[in-house]
């Protein structure tokens, strides 16, 4: 026979005013297995908790029901107290007679509240009788972290974690880290030169002993769970031996063939062996195999001839490296929506219609024009530049419904950069709203208008076409209510920021959520903005949604601090609310496996003596299981159950109804 104690709380007058707690306690006494009941003024107070502990010992209780407030309030309190008294904490159950009784049923005769409290308490007692003691699951942690994506967000996260003393593996798919920020000229709102503030961080990441860089690499496979992941990294063939290369640049000086530069976005060519940009980290080139004459046709080999340290290796193959880590920070960033989607703006057809990032390259002193702002078509300085905001953003029909958040600001920046470089030039901006929320942001936009003379027109552009060497922009100025036409020399489209094309695939590999656009889902958009539903995987930067550099950096640091606090624990403890399979009964239908939202269910084979698999059954990976119980309801053989919410326990509660 169980030995259960029932403690009914009065909560001062909060419960007592509409529930006769003494009567509740009295009634429960007669239930089989209940050996002690009482009513008490404030159960959660120190004396209350002491009393609880004392009674556990005195009556040798093996289970406790506290009928008090919501378990969301004090379940942890009472379970801890029980634990201190030597009772398994999961043998303590709470009945919610405050939020569910006294406060919502204000019957002063106390009849209603008392009756309902008795029902609820009885249900809890019956349930508790079937409860099993559970043990918190404790897991070891591999104190190494993986960062995916070496943009500013990823770099910041890696640096902070390395600073905190843990080993970091930074995987970047391009030949250099730096991401989109490396493309920018100067940055709002302070107008620092992007390279000047980014390059030191890139170098720091390269030199930091705790950071292991894998550039030109991608995460191929992720296994395991919080504290214990195993990832497989594909290191793409560079055709250059990293350990030998000194970055002298002889090879790309001498390579006779050229290809379009991805980094410069069609504004310039690069050599076939190349580093994306001069400050690349690491400063080690890669050979772009599809364009290399040696690799494709077996001729050339100039780079190998000129390379002093003999670092070129045309035979190199992709390498696969396995790393064990305890946490992952995803910082894969953004790209711009392809402008070709907007036929009316002539992008791709009209050379002088360019994207915002292309404009950054034109304005950048390390860019294809050395910082001179000129028309791509004829190299002339444009006297009139029209900037069109919200291209693809806030356009649920042809683009995306959301606002890209940074384009209002960088467009204002562009008008300033342009004015500073082309003094007689005139900038026009078509906007719908100016979104300049941020410290010193509105002031920045006003400066562009008031000081640098940018002409802001409220309205959208309907069409852009070429006429006599000019780019004609036809739009509306809704404030004056008229159609307007501008003969421009160049048009810059502030195109929507969208997730990387590969974002969804990576999310599926990692088991994290993403929205309909492919941006990654936070655990909670306000209160847990850098966590994901998959424990141990964190987010930073523009892979979550459009944001600027300050926000990306903050999120990088936030994700790093989450990892550091995770690693600060000796062992990871977690609630033992996980599913278990009664393996002999399992008929391997895999219904649970498809139902589980966390991929926590694995197939396990049973082998005979020869090692042949004779039978399969499902197995729950306790590290991954989050205890939702979906599998339990899915299993038709009723052989999977959820600790803490087993069928038997729930039925007991229902039966006591």
């Amino acid at each position: 026979m169980p030995r259960i104690g029932v403690f009914v709380c009065q909560c001062g007058n909060n419960i007592e005013s509409t529930v006769d707690t003494r009567k509740v306690a009295e009634e429960m006494k007669d239930l089989p297995g209940v050996v002690f009941t009482c009513s008490y003024k404030f159960m959660c107070s120190s004396p209350g908790q002491e009393m609880l502990k004392e009674m556990i010992k005195k009556h040798d209780l093996d289970g406790v029901v506290v009928s008090a407030c919501s378990p969301h309030m004090h379940e942890a309190t009472f379970r801890k107290a029980c634990e201190k008294a030597g009772l398994n904490p999961y043998r303590c159950e709470i009945t919610n007679i405050r939020e569910q009784c006294s406060w919502v049923h204000p019957d002063k005769t106390k009849k209603t509240g008392t009756l309902k409290s008795m029902d609820l308490t009885r249900m809890t007692i019956e349930r508790l009788k079937r409860n099993r003691p559970l043990k918190t699951i404790s897991m070891s942690v591999t104190r190494r972290a993986l960062v995916i994506g070496g943009g500013i967000a990823g770099i910041q996260a890696a640096l902070d974690m390395a600073e905190g003393g843990i080993e970091v593996i930074l995987v970047e798919k391009e030949p250099s880290i730096g991401g989109n920020m490396a493309r920018l000229s100067e940055t709002f709102p302070t107008m620092d030169c992007s390279q000047c503030i980014l390059t030191p961080k890139m170098v720091e990441a390269e030199l930091n002993e705790n950071i292991k860089l894998y550039t030109y690499s991608e995460v191929e496979k992720v296994d395991g769970y919080i504290g214990n992941f195993t990832v497989t990294i594909r290191k793409k063939a560079r055709y250059v031996k990293e350990e030998l290369c000194t970055g002298c640049g002889e090879c790309w000086e001498k390579c006779p063939y050229k290809a379009e530069s991805e980094f410069e976005m069609e504004l310039k060519e690069r050599k076939v062996i190349y580093t994306p940009f001069p400050q690349s980290v690491p400063n080690i080139p890669v050979i772009d195999a599809p364009d290399c004459v040696m690799i494709q046709k077996g001729k050339c080999g100039v780079c190998a001839k000129v390379c002093g340290p003999k670092a070129i290796d045309f035979e190199q193959k992709d390498e696969f490296i396995e790393e064990k880590i305890g946490a992952i920070v995803v910082a894969t960033g953004y790209e711009l929506m392809p402008n070709e989607r907007f036929g009316e703006y002539g992008y791709g057809k009209i050379k002088d219609v360019i994207s915002g990032l292309q404009f950054e390259r034109l304005a950048s002193s390390s860019g294809p024009t050395g910082g001179r702002i000129v028309r791509p078509s004829d190299g002339k300085e444009p006297e009139t530049v029209v900037f069109i905001q919200c291209v693809g953003s806030r356009d649920e029909k042809k683009g995306v419904a959301y606002c890209s958040k940074v384009c209002c600001m960088y467009t204002a920046k562009h008008t300033m950069l342009y004015k500073h470089k082309v003094h007689h030039g005139q900038a026009y901006v078509f906007y719908m709203d100016i979104r300049s929320g941020g410290k010193r942001y509105e002031e920045f936009v006003r400066r562009a208008i008031e000081h640098d003379g940018a002409m802001y027109l409220r309205g959208r552009v309907s069409r852009v076409y070429e006429k006599d060497g000019k780019v004609i922009v036809q739009g509306a100025d809704t404030l004056s209510g008229t159609q307007v036409e501008i003969e421009a020399d160049m048009v810059v489209l502030a195109t929507a920021m969208v997730p990387r094309g590969s974002a969804v695939e990576l999310a599926q590999r990692l088991g994290i959520g993403y929205d309909k656009y492919g941006f990654y889902n936070e655990y909670h958009p306000k209160l847990r903005p850098v966590e994901t539903v998959n424990a141990g995987i964190y987010l930073a930067g523009t892979c979550i949604g459009p944001m600027d550099i300050p926000d990306s950096v903050s999120m990088g640091s936030a994700a790093a601090s989450k990892v550091l606090s995770l690693f600060a624990k000796e062992k990871l403890a977690r609630e033992p609310i996980v599913a278990h399979v009664d393996t002999p009964v399992c008929n391997a239908c895999w219904d649970c496996l498809t139902a589980c939202p966390y991929k926590a269910i694995e197939k396990e084979g049973i082998r005979d003596r020869e090692g042949n698999i004779v039978r399969w059954h499902a197995k729950v990976n306790e590290g991954v299981c989050q205890g939702c119980g979906v599998c339990v309801a899915a299993c038709r053989s009723k052989c999977i159950d959820l600790a803490g919410y087993r069928d038997e326990e729930v039925f007991a509660a229902i039966n006591a109804f």
Binding site: N96, D119, V533, C628, V632, A634, D647, I654
Partner: protein
């Protein structure tokens, strides 16, 4: 369908299976906000609507429930990302079986109540209680229990 006379003083008993994260918290909020609703409901807390087995509902009716409510997070808001979708699919099938097993569909209710929707919870309980009052006590399954 059922023409049971409402007994004098009879009050329906309703069992609510709710998820821990949304509806349970929403009901808590109704409490902390001192809202009032009819006292006929008894809550059974589960981690997720996805955990709720149709058998729970049958069992509840067997044990004297006159109505059952299943409520969890809104679609897309599930604490466990997609548990409530599983639940939804399951319940669509189950609901269509209700007639077959002899339970008036008005006795089984589904809803989404988020942690902040205390008002929705209160209205829901009052509405369901009224509806089930009109249907009268559910006797058909009583005998089944032992």
């Amino acid at each position: 369908m059922e023409d049971k006379k409402t007994e004098e003083g009879w009050e329906p008993k309703i069992m609510a299976f709710v998820c821990n994260w949304c509806t349970y918290a929403g009901a808590d909020l109704a409490g902390t906000s001192r809202m009032h609703y009819s006292p006929n409901v008894r809550i059974v807390k589960l981690p997720c609507t996805g955990r709720i087995d149709p058998l729970f509902v049958i069992k509840a009716f067997e044990n004297g429930a006159d109505g059952v409510l299943v409520s969890g997070c809104h679609p897309g808001d599930c604490h466990y990302t997609s548990g409530n979708y599983h639940a939804r699919r399951r319940w669509i099938v189950f609901k269509s079986l209700m007639d077959f097993v002899g339970i008036h569909p008005g006795r089984l209710h589904f809803s989404w109540v988020s942690a902040s929707e205390a008002i929705k919870w209160v209205d829901l309980i009052d509405r369901i209680t009224e509806e089930i009052k009109k249907l009268g006590p559910f006797m058909e399954y009583r005998g089944l229990k032992k």
